[in-house]
């Protein structure tokens, strides 16, 4: 089997420790914020979308240009969404960013490298090339503020 290549490898050239060496292939459920419906655009790294917000550190740039934001469980995803609604009301409510639906999928080692989840269950997936990650996700509900 050949070396697996990251899908957005060319976007992160020159960034230090990207993705970090503690990212590993995993077999687990994943939840992601989605805008309206699932399509290829729903799984674009946020740094490739417009308009971008600033990514100031190399570690932020790494996640933004090659990673996908995910959660390990439904509760964590919904809880963080509510917190974001309270802080950045307009951007979250107007759906120009973040999304309004929650999608669920089951990640396998073939899909890419997962960063360790933080205390809220958030982690970043660095997708491998030639994946159709959108095909393993389906919408499970609305996100509400």
């Amino acid at each position: 089997m050949g070396i697996k290549e990251l899908k957005y490898k060319d976007k992160i050239n020159g960034l230090n420790n990207c993705p970090s060496t503690n990212c590993i292939e995993q077999n687990k459920e994943a939840y992601r914020f989605i805008k309206n419906e699932i399509n290829q655009k729903s799984f674009l790294p946020v740094g490739l979308e417009n308009p971008k917000r600033p990514f100031n550190k190399d570690s932020d740039k790494c996640k933004a240009y090659s990673g996908l934001s995910m959660f390990e469980n439904e509760e964590s995803a919904k809880k963080l969404y509510k917190e974001l609604c309270k802080r950045n009301k307009r951007p979250v409510k107007t759906l120009k960013s973040l999304g309004n639906k929650l999608a669920k999928g089951h990640l396998m080692p073939i899909h890419g490298l997962c960063s360790p989840a933080n205390s809220t269950g958030h982690f970043t997936l660095y997708e491998y090339k030639d994946n159709n990650i959108e095909s393993i996700f389906s919408i499970i509900g609305e996100l509400s503020c």
């Binding site: 917000r53 600033p54 932020d60 802080r87 009301k89 307009r90 951007p91």
Partner: protein, 326 residues
């Protein structure tokens, strides 16, 4: 994006904003700290967006109110709306390359409420993705005399050093003779020599002011936890300490030349040491015993820890010091 009830102006009239750090981050900056060349502090709050632009609410704040927010002692709403320094805000529309496309000056009273967070929103630790956070602030208030102000950071650093040593399970070198406070001071001086990076980062003496330390946030929070532990159990802890103090004085243990006396008092030290430390989160009595040369030195380490926590706790109870809680 919402229509703005304010005045537009050219971006040339804006001060130069230098990025300091992200305060809250999720898939890009949500809230960030900036500084002008004049040293003024501004926060940029992501408040709106369109298909092509992000809008930022730009607010001038004091360093202290920012530290209050960062410490979990004040809300985001207070930082942006109650404690801000001007009667006007900037609203900046920036494109995907972070270039300013439009600037507005808005009166505070005219700002759309949708651009402000809910009133009960504190800083969210989950949205701080800074793995290298090594700063811990303490806010200071009311009147401080010079001695007090000099001792306070020193005692805080002493506790941090002990907790850092305990967390990393490092053997402590307290091989000097314990003789009242002097030897305990030299014990902490040794710890300080081994941890030169732990120091004061910034200080503003004016009351209300703040002291910021270069220390892992986690250690600073552990000091706060121990202070809270003390305040909650102060009667029990003080009573054990007084018994120990009286016992050591009664048998004149500080004045003993050889270590022969230790065996005779060992059981008492073990019992009271455990009793004194059981209320604190860390260091544990078992760790102190493990890294100490003998039971007497262990009890003196526990007592020196208590004295420093007591000193810091008194300033908290007098509302002279507020420790970051997040």
């Amino acid at each position: 994006m919402l229509d703005i009830n304010g005045m537009t102006f050219k971006k040339d009239f804006l001060p130069t904003f230098l990025f300091i750090k992200d305060l809250q981050y999720f898939e890009g900056t949500l809230l960030a700290e900036y500084q002008t060349k004049k040293g003024e502090t501004y926060v940029f709050h992501w408040c709106d967006c369109s298909d092509t632009l992000n809008r930022w609410l730009v607010v001038r704040v004091s360093k202290r109110s920012l530290l209050q927010f960062e410490s979990g002692l004040s809300t985001l709403h207070n930082l942006l709306y109650r404690d801000n320094l001007d009667e006007t805000y900037y609203l900046l529309d920036m494109d995907t390359n972070q270039e300013i496309k439009k600037c507005f000056l808005v009166q505070k009273v005219s700002l759309d409420i949708e651009y402000l967070p809910e009133e009960d929103t504190f800083i969210l630790p989950e949205l701080i993705f800074d793995e290298n956070e090594n700063s811990y602030p303490i806010l200071i208030d009311k009147n401080w005399d010079t001695d007090d102000l000099a001792s306070f950071p020193r005692k805080f650093i002493d506790i941090c050093l002990l907790l850092k040593t305990s967390k990393n399970d490092i053997k402590i070198s307290n091989d000097g003779k314990w003789d009242g406070g002097l030897a305990s001071q030299s014990f902490y001086n040794n710890l300080r020599r081994e941890n030169k990076d732990l120091k004061i980062k910034a200080i503003q003496y004016a009351s209300p002011g703040y002291i910021q330390f270069s220390i892992e946030r986690e250690i600073g929070l552990l000091v706060k936890e121990n202070i809270d532990n003390y305040i909650e159990n102060k009667d029990e802890i003080t009573s054990t300490f007084k018994i120990l103090e009286h016992y050591i004085s009664h048998y004149e243990l500080n004045q003993k030349e050889s270590k022969d006396f230790i065996n005779e008092h060992k059981d008492f030290f073990m019992e009271k040491g455990n009793e004194l430390m059981k209320y604190f989160s860390e260091p544990s009595w078992s760790w102190i015993i493990k890294v100490s040369e003998d039971e007497f030195k262990a009890i003196k380490t526990a007592m020196s820890f208590y004295r420093r926590i007591l000193f810091l706790s008194k300033r908290v109870l007098d509302k002279k010091a507020m420790f970051a809680r997040l």
